[in-house]
């Protein structure tokens, strides 16, 4: 087995001081795979106010960047390298990125919320700029040349006037700067950018295209054994008995591990673990704690409200509704979704001499470290979590849970254990995007302008935080008892200037399946309801949907994305729906807009749809999108993210719904939870607005927010029928068409 293992090369501990000298450009896995010395022995600082926490200058002229934000398949690693190389005046290939290792990287917060560049990248930029300023200062002293007469380039500082320069490695002998990050440091003038803003090729792609890349699922450690979990057939069922004899014939079986309701099998080889998991006989109690799926929305409506978050209040919406010339009212719902990463979650844990090391694809290794420590009663300092990139991650999926499983099993068998979830484990047990129900009312005046807007969002309580680990819950070990669905109240308030507005989130005490955040949590559902209902208002007013939005929008950057998407899509001003429809396939277009969380990235989109009037099948052949995320780090990376957001969200909106019976999730594979496939993938037409002198904002989520409403609005344009329930399945659309 050619495990990619554990090189100490690159990390030399000399007299207690850390000297980083990566000598292996291009071998990414090496940088991530230091010897598992766990948590002691490192003197490398990780405090987020220290320059040395973020970077180390190598004797070989290379620089290592330590990033608390991780690449989840979005290209962040390359973007971080661009930012750091730019500030340090280095070629890109002299930068190595180490990500999400709790012993080596500062805690920059979880990798979520489209904040990697906006927050994490800016912190790295400041650290790198502070380092560069110090290098210039040291050079000035050594050369006896004033700092402003020096220039840094290609890893050296030299006099502008010419003459001998000094390399960074010469300037800082042990690679350390012992310096605080200066948040007010002058960063590079965007006019001089050589890497930022350029479509730099991704660092990870050649290895990923050739099978050399090491994903979490590929990672191996010496002496490691394989495990599979055996989950309860119903979420709250109790384990009554286990028949170990039922798996006794499996060669290489090491142990059946049982702790409370946590059950798993450990074997020498992976296939033996898979077979044993399938063959193991266990009896479980009956449990039917889930609501009936076809009464889900009644259930949501009847769930206890623990508090109301009033997210905006202007004027008197109730009174204005009463006085309106015309009133509209509608309810929207959005189904439960799974993350559906193509590779199910996987983790490895090793417990040795009281120290725990966990290799994980977690988007939040620093938070996971504390969760794992709490679960098994270790001090956080005795736990090291090391990020190893997994299959695409679109939020808090099963990675952390697999880590929890691995830790319990490593403790039970006293060897490093790799846990690979099955497809059914992933679809059944990853935390879900919760069901969302939204009631809206609007009042229009004689001219059709919105004079009153009132909305109520029925969504679970809680915010971002730690999602309780499945293993800890099943084994009844210490775990969180609150829900963490993410910051799902964002974009419930409107970007439009209406005179009387009240938007309220009713926070629910529970939701049927363990919730978490999945790409654009809440902001997608809320934008969907707002932008589709606004379209209903435009139609009631007989107005063109673009013009109707522009009338109520004051923000120039918002106006610009809307106008540009109209241009891109060759938008023809007219009210919806289309008149004079004929034929079996009806065609329409719909527009939608978001200012993400009302304080950053602007996106506008136009969906083109085809609706088969007999089958109710909706197709989205083309989608136009314009985004302004401020300063763009890598335009090709941003385009890649926009493709991904549009395609993934079209899939979610047309097809996806987690199904369940009274005990558990029943959509456990790709045939019961189908996603969009190649023949139905829309063409995505993109226009980016780059503002190099502005702050860089996130691009990983915002464009997903506009997709559901654009599709709903286009279906209305094509058919005159409003679809208000995601997913827009053929059955629902057919029923709506027949009812029309």
């Amino acid at each position: 087995m050619n495990a990619p293992l554990l090189s100490r090369r690159g990390l030399l501990l000399q007299g207690g001081a850390l000297v980083v000298g990566f000598s292996l450009p291009g071998r990414r896995a090496e940088a991530q795979t230091f010897a598992p010395v766990a948590t002691t022995g490192f003197s490398k600082p990780v405090a987020p106010d220290q320059v040395d926490s973020f970077l180390a200058l190598g004797a070989d002229g290379r620089v290592t960047i330590f990033s608390g934000k991780v690449d989840l398949g979005t290209g962040v690693e390359t973007a971080m390298a661009q930012i750091a190389a730019e500030e340090l005046d280095l070629p890109l290939d002299r930068v190595t990125i180490v990500q999400g290792d709790t012993a080596l990287t500062p805690d920059q917060g979880p990798t979520y919320g489209s904040l990697s560049i906006q927050k994490g990248g800016v912190e790295i930029r400041q650290a790198a700029a502070t380092a560069r300023a110090r290098l210039v200062q040291i050079a000035s002293e050594r050369l006896g040349v004033p700092a402003d007469a020096l220039v840094s380039e290609n890893g050296t500082v030299r006099p502008k006037a010419g003459g001998q320069g000094l390399s960074y490695a010469d300037l800082v002998k042990d690679g350390r700067l012992d310096l605080k990050v200066d948040p007010a440091v002058k960063t590079k003038d965007p006019a001089r950018f050589a890497l930022v803003g350029k479509p730099v090729a991704r660092i990870d792609i050649p290895e990923k295209m050739t099978g050399r890349f090491t994903y979490m699922q590929d990672y191996r450690v010496p002496g490691m054994v394989h495990a599979r979990v055996v989950r309860p057939p119903a979420i709250g069922a109790d384990l009554q008995s286990v028949d170990e004899a039922s798996v006794a014939n499996i060669p290489g079986l090491i142990k059946v591990v049982r702790q409370g309701n946590f059950l798993a099998v450990v074997a020498q080889k992976e296939w033996a673990a898979i077979k044993a998991a399938g063959q193991l006989k266990a009896t479980w109690s009956k449990w039917e704690g889930l609501p009936e799926q076809d009464k889900l929305w009644q259930h949501v409506r009847a769930t206890k409200v623990t508090k109301d978050d009033v997210t905006s209040s202007t004027g008197d919406a109730e009174a204005a509704l009463g006085q309106a010339a015309r009133r509209l009212e509608a309810s929207y719902d959005f189904a439960i979704h799974t993350h559906g990463s193509i590779g199910p979650s996987c983790a490895i844990a090793e417990l040795k001499d009281g120290l725990l090391t966990c290799w994980t694809a977690s988007q939040m290794t620093h938070a996971l470290r504390k969760q794992l420590a709490a679960m098994i009663g270790l001090a956080p300092e005795a736990v090291r979590c090391i990020y190893v990139e997994g299959s695409g991650c679109y939020g808090r999926n099963g990675h952390e849970d697999a880590a929890g499983d691995a830790v319990l099993l490593a403790r039970a068998v006293g060897r490093p254990v790799r846990v690979q979830w099955s497809r059914a484990d992933e679809h059944g047990w990853d935390p879900k995007g919760p069901p969302t129900l939204i009631d809206l009312k609007a009042g229009l005046d004689q001219q059709g302008n919105v004079t009153a807007w009132s909305s109520q969002f029925h969504i679970p309580e809680g915010a971002a935080g730690n999602v309780p680990l499945v293993a800890a819950s099943l084994a009844d070990l210490p775990h969180e008892t609150t829900m963490a669905p993410g910051n799902i109240i964002g974009n419930s308030a409107l970007p439009y200037a209406f005179p009387n507005v009240r938007t309220v989130c009713h926070r629910l005490a529970s939701t049927p399946l363990r919730p978490s955040w999945i790409r654009t949590p809440g902001r997608m559902q809320n934008t969907y309801a707002n932008e589709a209902f606004l379209d209903e208002c435009a139609a009631a007013a007989g107005a063109d949907p673009l013009d109707y939005r522009l009338r109520a929008l004051k923000d120039p950057r918002g106006i610009e994305v809307l106008k540009r998407v109209a241009e891109l899509a060759k938008w023809q001003a007219r009210p919806s729906p289309v008149k004079d429809v004929a034929g079996d396939v009806l065609r329409g277009r719909g527009i939608s807009y978001v200012k993400y969380e009302l304080n950053r990235t602007y996106v506008a989109g136009v969906a083109e749809v085809e609706v088969n009037r007999h089958t109710g099948q909706v197709r989205v052949p083309r989608f136009f999108v314009v985004q302004d995320c401020g300063q763009i780090i890598n335009p090709d990376g941003v385009r890649n993210q926009l493709d991904g957001n549009v395609i993934q969200t079209v899939s979610r909106v047309l097809m996806e719904e987690v199904t369940f019976d009274r005990g558990a999730v029943t959509s456990l594979d790709w045939s019961s939870y189908p996603i969009l496939t190649f023949p139905d993938v829309p063409e995505v037409v993109i226009d980016l607005i780059d503002r190099p002198t502005e702050k860089p904002w996130g691009a990983g989520e915002p464009s997903a927010a506009i997709v559901p409403a654009a599709v709903s609005n286009a279906v209305f344009d094509a058919t005159g029928v409003r679809v208000r329930s995601v997913p827009f399945t053929p059955a629902k659309v057919r029923a709506a068409l027949q009812g029309a």
Partner: protein, 156 residues
């Protein structure tokens, strides 16, 4: 009873010891031979992440028992096509198009489309989409993948 088998993988003879003849080829390639190209995605034949070539045909290794391989069958994985230093033309096309987000599905995309191009050197876009209809990508990289195949076919 462990059984010794000899396989031809990426042009080299490999000896493996298999406890169970039903062991899917995927686990032999990944766990016994340490290959990373073929990936575990579903184990159900539904996603394509595990695709390899057996005698030039694209096959889902997660549902192919190792014992079903015919004597002398030639197995080729993503690593067998090319390397970062010397990529196969289709790998080079995927790199040129930057056709990956997480890249987890890409093994299947490349292996499936390499088999397609062997049979149909100049497929049109619809034919490429059809040939990849049973390969799943969650990140939404489909458009770049199609362009990469077109580039490899010289039809871009």
């Amino acid at each position: 009873m462990a059984q010794q088998m000899s396989l031809d993988v990426n042009g080299r003879a490999a000896q493996v010891s298999v406890d169970d003849p039903d062991t899917p080829l995927l686990y032999v390639l990944r766990d016994d031979l340490g290959l990373h190209g073929p990936r575990f995605g579903c184990g159900l034949g539904q996603c394509g992440a595990c695709t390899v070539h057996i005698d030039g045909q694209a096959v889902r290794s997660c549902i192919t028992p190792v014992s079903s391989l015919k004597a002398g069958a030639k197995v080729v994985t993503l690593e067998g096509l090319g390397s970062p230093e010397q990529p196969h033309p289709i790998q080079a096309a995927f790199i040129a198009e930057q056709a990956a987000q997480c890249g987890y599905c890409i093994n299947g995309m490349i292996m499936q489309s390499a088999a397609l191009l062997n049979e149909t050197p100049k497929p049109d876009e619809a034919a490429i989409r059809q040939a990849l209809a049973q390969n799943l990508c969650r990140c939404g990289t489909h458009l770049r993948i199609v362009r990469a195949v077109q580039r490899a076919a010289g039809t871009l």
